[in-house]
Amino acid sequence: MSPDRSESRSEGTRTVRPPGWEPEILAFCCSYCASAAAGEAGAVRLRYPAGTRILSTPCTGGIEMEHLLEAFEKGVDGVLVVGCPDGGCHFVEGNQRALRRLERVRAILDEIGLGGGRLRMVQLSDSMAPAFADHMREITETIRAMGPNPLKPARKESAGRS
C-alpha cells in the first residue's frame, strides 16, 4: 500500500472509498465444477481481478449461513458462491439447497443495510472457464460500485501490509 494513502470522501455517496481500494471478493467454489473451471481458466490464462480469493468446498450445499455472514462480518466486500448447474450436482441437490440458503442470507444482508447485492450465487459446469472469469470480474465491478464493506474493521485500513 502506498504510504501517502489517505481517506477521502467522494461526494454524492455515503461510502468511504480509500484510494487504492480494490474490492475484496471471497469465492466459495464447489470443488467439482467451480474449482475445475477455475483451473481451466488458469490453464488458458484468462485474467480476472486479483482481489478474489477462492475457498474450495466439496459442495455448495455444505456452505453454512454462518460462514457467509462471518465473511461479511470480518470485512469481505463481496461473496460469490459458484456451484454446479441444475441437475449437475454431485450430491444430487446441494446446489439447490445453497440457492435457498443464500436467499435467506441475502435477506439478512438487506435487512442490516449491508446490501444483499454483495452476495451472489452462480452456476456453471467445469468446462465453463470463460464464464467463471466473467463472474469474477462482474462481482468485482458490482462491489466496486457498491463501495467497501462498512463492517470492514477500521484497523485493517490503517494496518496495511509491509
Binding site: 475445475a36 481451466e40 490464462r45 486479483a50 480469493r53 468446462s127
Partner: protein, 1138 residues
C-alpha cells in the same frame, strides 16, 4: 480374477522398453493392476525427450510439468523397477515367458553414492553442444533438475577423441584442453605432466600428431595443442608454483637398475623406476643429460633453461648419475654377469648419420647433421661456411640449416630437398620459418656426387627427382638424369637420417642397425636387458621416446618381480583406432571477458569435445561422495517377463530401429495391422508415440498395457508387491506442526508470484514450523524433500501450495503415508491456476498467494486424521454401447477375467441401430467376428434394447439402473463405467446421468486432455468414443486404453476411499430429522436413544446435513467445525488478510 486363458506358469511381469509418454503410461497401468514392471530406458533418466522440452501443450502445462509427476509416480511405485542406460539386446523364449537380455551401459557415477548435489557439473569444464532450444549440458550432468533417477551421469565415448589416441605418450589432450578452456591452468599442467614430463620441451618440438588427428583440422584448423602446451608449461614455470616439484618421491630400496642414455626415454624410465622404488643408476656418455634434446635440437628452438628446468624437475632424489660415462657392454652391468644391476634399460639413441652413398661424401667440409649439431650444441660453433648446403628434408635438416645460418662467417645456407615444392614431409610452418630466416630452399634435387678440390668440397651435383614414391606409396625415387644441377658449397651437411650405432652391444639388431626389442615390452634377446627410444625405433619423436621409457620401466618392474614382461594395456597409444564418432561442431566461443591468457583459453575452447567427457578428473576431486567411477564397464543381465511392450517416442526415435531389428519388428510399422498395438510377435506389443502428441502416446501406452493384461490375466498379482507404509502415528493430541511447501513450478509460478516473499509471510503463522520453496513440488526430488522435512521437524500437517490440487493431491498424500502420517493431513493451495496464471504481472498476485497459502495453513491446523474406509470393488464393468468400441473394451476386460455388462440401446450389436460410417467400410467382417466373440463370451452379459437410467455410487461400487424396453428395469452393480456410445445426440442425456459436463463440441471431456485422455472427470468412469472422424483403429486403441484404465480399479479387491463422512455429536442432536430428510443418499437415520447417526458407507461427504443441522451437531469428520471460520479469520486478520 486371475482365471483368464490358462497358461501354465506364465510370468506376471512386463518389460516396457522406453519411458516416454506411452511407456510411462503402460508401466503405471500395469503396475496399478497387479503386474510387476521393468521399465527399460536407454537414456540416463526416464521421461524421454518430451519430458525435457518445455513446449507448452494443450491444457496450459509444459510437457515437463505434465510428465514430471507421472515420472515421480513411476519412481515411487514399488512394482516398477527402472533400468536407465539400458539397452534391450535380445528377447527369446515364448509369450508368457520371455527371457530378455539387457545391457546396462555405464553411468560412470555410482548411483548408490551420488546424492545429486551437482558439485561435479559445477566444475566440469566440458559443455556439450546442445540441440536448438535445449539447455546445454556439461559432460557430467543430469538431463534436468528433477530427473529420475536424480543422479548424474557422464557422457563419454571412450576412444572417440582422435587426438588422444594419436599421442604416443598418451597425453589426455581433451582433458588438457578442457581444463585450459576453463581457465584452470594449474590443473591443465598437472594433467599434462602426468603423461608428458617435458611439457615445455614438448610444446616446442613435438611433431604434434594430435593436431594432425584433430577433427577440427579439416574444418578451420586444428586446435593448437602444441602451442597451448608450451604456453601452459611456461606460464606455470614463470609463476614459480609448487607444481614444479624439484624432486618427487624418495630414494628406492628395491633392486638396483641401470639406465643407459640420458635422453628422454632414459630419463622417463629412470624416473619411473625410481618412483617405483628401484635404486637407479643413469649412465650418460655426454657431459650433460638430455640426449637428442640437448645435442640435437638447437637452443633457439628449445631454450636450454627450459630443458634444464624440466630435466631437473624430473630427476628423482637418490638417482645415481654417471655422466660422461659410456657403457659399451650393457650385459656386463647385470648381476648375473658379475655386475651390480638387476636389469638394464638401453636407450642410447640414434647418433650415426646415414651416408648418402655418393662419391665424395668423405671429403673435408662434409658433415653429418647429427655430428654438426652435437658439436654446435656442445661448445663453440663448428667452423663452416661461408656457403653451406644442407641436403635433407627432415626436422634434423631444418635444425642443421638454421643452426648454420646463425654460425659466424656463414653467408648463405641452401637446403636441397628431394621432394617437390609443397610435398616436403616436414611441418610446413617450420619450413616456412626456416625460409623466412633466409634459408634458400631448393626442391626436387637428388644428389649424385660431392665435387671436391684438393680433398675439400666445392659443390654438389644433383639430378632432378621426378617422383619420390611409387604407385604403392613406397619410397622409390625416379630421376631425370638429363636434368642436372650443381650447387656450390663450402660446407655440406648431410641430413638424410640417423642410424643406431649399436654394433658393439652384442645384442640382436635389425637389418638397418636398430636394436631388436619386443615392441610391447622393450625386452631384448638378453634377459634383463631392455631397450627403447631411438635406439630401437630409429629417429622418433619425443612423445614416442617418453612412451618407450614409461613402458620399459613398467616391463622392467614386472620382469624384476619375476613376472612375464607385460604391458599394462595392449591398447595404449591406439585407443583412438576405432571409427570416429560424428559430433556436432561447437560454436567458436567469444574470447571477450577472459583475463590473462584469453587467447589461449579461447583456442583451447575450440576443442570439439569429440569424446564428450575429457576425463580431466575435476569431478572426481569435486565429488565428496566419491561417486565418480570412470572404470565402470557395461554389464549384462537377463530377466524373465511374460510380455514385452516396446514404447519408442516415435518411429524415428534414436535407437528404436536397432531395437526393433534385434527383436524382429518392422521399425516403421511395428503394429499389425499398422496402427495397432499388436505386433507380428505374440506377447510383444508396440506403443509407438507420436512425437509431441503425448495424449496419443498415453492412449497407446494404455492400449498396449491392456493387451499385456489380457495375455497375462492368469498370472496377474503373482509378482506384484503390495504397497507398504510405516505405522501411522496418531497425531490427534499433538499440536499442529505444519510444513508449508511452496512450489515455483519451474517458471510457471515463480516470476508471477514472489515465492520467497510468500515463504517469508507464512513462516510466522500459527503452527507453521517449516517453510520451503520447491522448484517442482510434484517431482520425485521435491517429494523426497517434503518427506525429509517431515522427519526432521516432526511435522504433522502438510500444506502444499502448487497447482490445481486434484492433479497431484495423491502424490502429496503418498508422502504423508510414507512418513507415517494419515494422508488426510494435507491442505493444498492452488497458487498456479488460481493465482499466477490469472494475475501474472499484477503485483497483487503475491499478496493473493500469501492469503491462499495462509488459508490452507488455517485449514491444515483443523485437519484431523481420517481412518481409511475400504470399499469392496465389484469386479465387473458396465460398458455402454455395443459398437466396435464397446465390444472391444468388453472383450478386453472379459479376457482379463472381469465380468462385463454390455448395454446396447438397439436390438443388435455392431452399431446396427446406427448409420454405418463411411470409414467403417470394409470393417464389416471384423465387426461380425467381434459380435460372435462377444456373444459367446461367458463373462459378458448382454443387455440389448436397454438404456442407462441412472448411475449412483463411486469408483469400485457403482449402482447402475437400466431401462429395458418392453421388460422393465434392471439394477446392476459395476466397479467401473465405460462410455462407448457414438452418436452425439445421446451424449447429452448420458452426461447428465453420469454427472459430467460435455465439451463445447458436444463430446465427452477427458479428465486431463493430455495425461488422462480416456478418463472422465469422475473416478471410475471412462470413455472410448473419440471425436469424429476417427478411424476404426483409433477407436480400438481407445477402447483398449479404457479397458486398461478400468483394470487398474477392477483388479483391486478393494479401494481405499476417503473416510470423509459426516458424524453426529449426540450431545447436541435433538433428533429433529432435518438431516434425514435432506440427505440425498439416505445416510443419516434416527437411531437408538433418539439421536441421529450416519451410515458411513452411504455418506458421500457433501456436507449438506452439516450446513442444515439447526443444532450444529454434525461435522464432516475430516475437518473440525471451526475450519472455515479459521480460514476466514486467517484471510481477514489484520495484516494477514488483504
Amino acid at each position: 480374477m486371475g482365471s483368464g486363458r490358462e497358461r501354465p506358469g506364465g510370468v506376471g511381469a512386463v518389460l516396457v522398453c522406453g519411458s516416454g509418454g506411452a511407456g510411462i503410461q503402460a508401466a503405471l497401468d500395469l503396475a496399478e493392476s497387479g503386474f510387476r514392471v521393468i521399465l527399460a530406458e536407454a537414456g540416463a533418466a526416464i521421461g524421454g525427450r518430451a519430458a525435457r522440452s518445455d513446449d507448452t501443450l494443450s491444457g496450459g502445462d509444459c510437457a515437463m510439468c505434465l510428465l514430471s509427476p507421472r515420472l515421480a509416480e513411476c519412481a515411487r511405485n514399488r512394482n516398477i523397477e527402472i533400468f536407465t542406460l539400458a539397452d534391450v539386446l535380445e528377447v527369446s523364449g515364448e509369450p508368457g515367458r520371455f527371457r530378455v537380455r539387457i545391457r546396462h551401459n555405464p553411468r560412470y557415477v555410482d548411483p548408490g553414492k551420488c546424492d545429486g548435489c551437482g558439485n561435479c557439473a559445477a566444475v566440469c569444464p566440458v559443455t556439450l553442444p546442445a540441440a536448438p532450444g535445449e539447455e546445454a549440458l556439461k559432460a557430467i550432468s543430469r538431463p534436468w533438475p528433477q530427473a529420475i533417477p536424480n543422479i548424474f551421469s557422464i557422457s563419454r565415448v571412450a576412444g572417440a577423441a582422435p587426438c588422444r589416441g594419436a599421442c604416443p605418450a598418451g597425453v589426455n589432450v581433451p582433458g588438457f584442453l578442457a581444463l585450459l578452456g576453463a581457465g584452470r591452468l594449474e590443473a591443465a599442467y598437472t594433467l599434462l605432466r602426468d603423461r608428458c614430463p617435458f611439457p615445455g620441451t614438448s610444446g616446442r618440438i613435438c611433431r604434434r600428431p594430435c593436431e594432425s588427428a584433430c577433427r577440427r583440422g579439416a574444418r578451420d584448423g586444428a586446435v593448437a595443442v602444441g602451442d597451448l602446451e608450451r604456453f601452459v608449461a611456461d606460464a606455470v614455470a614463470s609463476a614459480e608454483t609448487t607444481l614444479l616439484p624439484a624432486a618427487e618421491g624418495a630414494a628406492g630400496t628395491r633392486a638396483r637398475v641401470a639406465v643407459i642414455g640420458g635422453g628422454p626415454a632414459g630419463l622417463v624410465a629412470a624416473r619411473d623406476l625410481a618412483l617405483t622404488g628401484y635404486r637407479v643408476t643413469l649412465f650418460e656418455a655426454q657431459p650433460l643429460l638430455g640426449g637428442m634434446l640437448r645435442y640435437g635440437v638447437p637452443p633457439f628452438r628449445l631454450p636450454r633453461e627450459v630443458l634444464d628446468r624440466e630435466i631437473g624437475a624430473l630427476l628423482p632424489p637418490g638417482l645415481e648419475l654417471r655422466t660422461s660415462t659410456r657403457v659399451d657392454k650393457p650385459a656386463g652391468l647385470l648381476s648375473v654377469h658379475g655386475g651390480a644391476f638387476g636389469a638394464v634399460f638401453l636407450a642410447c639413441g640414434a647418433w650415426a648419420g646415414r651416408r648418402l652413398g655418393i662419391p665424395g661424401e668423405g671429403a673435408d667440409g662434409v658433415w653429418q647433421a647429427v655430428d654438426y649439431l652435437r658439436v654446435s650444441n656442445s661448445g663453440p660453433p663448428a667452423p663452416i661456411g661461408p656457403g653451406v648446403l644442407v641436403i635433407g628434408e627432415s626436422d634434423l635438416a631444418l635444425d642443421a640449416a638454421r643452426t648454420a645460418l646463425r654460425a659466424p662467417g656463414v653467408r648463405r645456407v641452401t637446403l636441397a630437398c628431394l621432394h617437390g615444392r609443397g610435398e616436403v614431409p616436414v611441418d610446413a610452418g617450420r619450413l616456412a620459418l626456416a625460409a623466412g630466416e633466409g634459408v634458400e630452399v631448393e626442391y626436387g634435387l637428388g644428389p649424385t656426387r660431392v665435387n671436391t678440390l684438393a680433398g675439400r668440397v666445392v659443390s654438389v651435383s644433383f639430378r632432378a627427382c621426378t617422383s619420390v614414391f611409387d604407385e604403392h606409396g613406397r619410397y622409390d625415387p625416379l630421376y631425370d638424369d638429363a636434368a642436372t644441377r650443381t650447387l656450390g658449397a663450402d660446407t655440406v651437411i648431410l641430413a638424410s637420417g640417423r642410424g643406431v650405432d649399436a654394433a658393439g652391444y652384442a645384442l640382436e639388431r635389425r637389418p638397418g642397425g636398430r636394436l631388436l626389442a619386443d615392441p610391447l615390452t622393450g625386452a631384448t634377446g638378453v634377459p634383463g636387458i631392455f631397450a627403447g627410444g631411438d635406439a630401437v625405433l630409429g629417429p622418433a619423436s619425443l612423445a614416442e621416446a617418453i612412451a618407450q621409457g614409461r613402458r620399459a620401466a613398467e616391463s622392467m618392474d614386472a620382469w624384476l618381480k619375476r613376472n612375464a614382461p607385460i604391458r599394462e594395456a595392449a591398447a595404449m597409444g591406439v585407443s583412438g583406432a576405432g571409427p570416429r564418432h560424428p559430433v556436432p561442431m561447437a560454436p567458436d566461443p567469444a574470447p571477450a571477458g577472459l583475463q590473462a591468457g584469453s587467447r589461449e583459453v579461447a583456442e583451447a575452447r575450440r576443442c570439439l569435445n569429440c569424446g564428450a567427457c575429457s576425463e580431466c578428473g575435476l569431478c572426481t576431486t569435486a565429488c565428496s561422495a566419491g561417486a565418480i567411477d570412470l572404470a565402470q564397464a557395461p554389464s549384462e543381465s537377463e530377466i524373465e517377463v511374460g510380455s514385452v511392450i516396446v514404447a519408442p517416442e516415435e518411429t524415428g526415435a534414436p535407437g528404436w530401429s536397432e531395437l526393433a531389428a534385434r527383436i524382429g519388428l518392422d521399425p516403421d510399422a511395428p503394429g499389425v495391422p499398422p496402427e495397432s498395438v499388436r505386433t507380428r510377435l505374440p506377447g510383444v506389443y508396440a506403443a509407438v508415440g507420436r512425437g509431441a502428441e503425448i495424449a496419443a502416446a498415453v492412449t497407446r501406452g494404455s492400449a498396449a498395457a491392456a493387451c499385456a493384461m489380457e495375455q497375462l490375466a492368469s498370472v496377474r498379482g503373482t509378482l506384484a508387491r503390495p504397497r507398504s507404509y510405516p505405522w501411522e502415528r496418531d497425531v490427534t493430541d499433538e499440536e499442529a506442526r505444519i510444513g508449508v511447501f511452496v512450489c515455483r513450478c519451474g517458471h510457471q509460478i515463480s516470476p508471477a508470484v514472489d515465492v520467497a516473499e510468500v515463504c517469508r509471510s507464512v513462516a510466522a503463522l500459527e503452527g507453521v514450523h517449516c517453510v520451503e520453496a520447491l522448484e517442482y513440488s510434484c517431482s520425485d526430488s521435491g517429494l523426497r524433500r517434503m518427506k525429509r522435512r517431515i522427519g526432521e521437524h516432526r511435522l504433522n500437517r502438510l500444506v502444499v501450495a502448487s497447482c490445481s490440487s486434484r492433479t497431484y493431491e495423491a502424490l502429496f498424500q503418498e508422502v504423508l503415508r510414507e512418513s507415517g502420517l494419515n494422508r488426510y493431513l494435507l491442505a493444498t493451495a492452488n497458487i498456479r491456476e488460481e493465482c499466477a496464471w490469472v494475475h501474472g504481472g499484477d503485483e497483487a498476485a503475491t499478496r493473493k498467494a500469501v492469503d491462499l497459502v495462509a488459508m490452507a495453513a488455517a485449514r491444515a491446523r483443523h485437519l484431523r486424521p481420517l481412518p481409511p474406509v475400504d470399499l469392496p470393488v465389484t469386479a465387473s464393468a458396465l460398458v455402454l454401447g455395443g459398437g466396435s468400441s464397446g465390444m472391444t473394451a468388453a472383450l478386453s476386460l472379459a479376457g482379463q477375467g472381469f465380468g462385463v455388462h454390455l448395454v446396447e440401446r438397439s436390438g443388435a450389436l455392431g452399431g446396427g441401430g446406427r448409420r454405418p460410417g463411411p470409414e467403417e467400410g470394409g470393417a464389416g467382417d471384423r465387426a461380425d467376428g467381434l459380435i460372435d466373440r462377444v456373444t459367446a463370451h461367458p463373462r459378458i452379459t448382454l443387455h440389448l434394447d436397454s438404456e442407462l437410467r441412472a448411475v449412483a455410487g463411486q469408483a469400485g461400487d457403482f449402482t447402475c439402473r437400466l431401462n429395458v424396453s418392453g421388460w422393465g428395469r434392471v439394477t446392476l452393480a459395476a466397479g467401473v463405467v465405460i462410455v462407448a456410445t457414438g452418436a452425439g445426440g445421446e451424449n447429452e442425456a448420458l452426461a447428465a446421468k453420469l454427472r459430467v459436463a460435455l465439451g463445447e463440441d458436444g463430446g465427452f471431456r477427458p479428465a486431463h486432455p493430455v495425461l488422462r485422455p480416456v478418463d472422465l472427470v469422475n473416478e471410475g468412469q471412462f470413455f472410448c468414443t473419440a471425436a469424429p472422424p476417427s478411424s476404426i483403429q483409433e477407436r480400438v486403441l481407445r477402447a483398449r486404453a479404457a479397458a486398461a484404465r478400468a483394470a487398474t480399479i477392477l483388479s483391486k479387491p478393494q479401494l481405499e476411499i476417503a473416510g470423509h463422512v459426516a458424524s453426529v455429536n449426540p450431545v447436541f442432536c435433538v433428533a429433529c430429522g432435518t438431516c434425514v430428510r435432506l440427505c440425498p443418499y439416505g445416510a443419516p437415520f434416527i437411531g437408538e436413544a433418539r439421536k441421529a447417526a450416519v451410515q458411513e458407507v452411504k455418506c458421500a461427504g457433501c456436507g449438506s446435513c452439516v450446513a442444515s443441522c439447526p443444532r450444529r451437531a454434525i461435522t464432516l469428520r475430516r475437518e473440525e467445525s471451526g475450519t472455515v471460520t479459521a480460514m476466514l479469520g486467517q484471510l481477514l486478520a489484520a495484516g494477514g488478510g488483504y
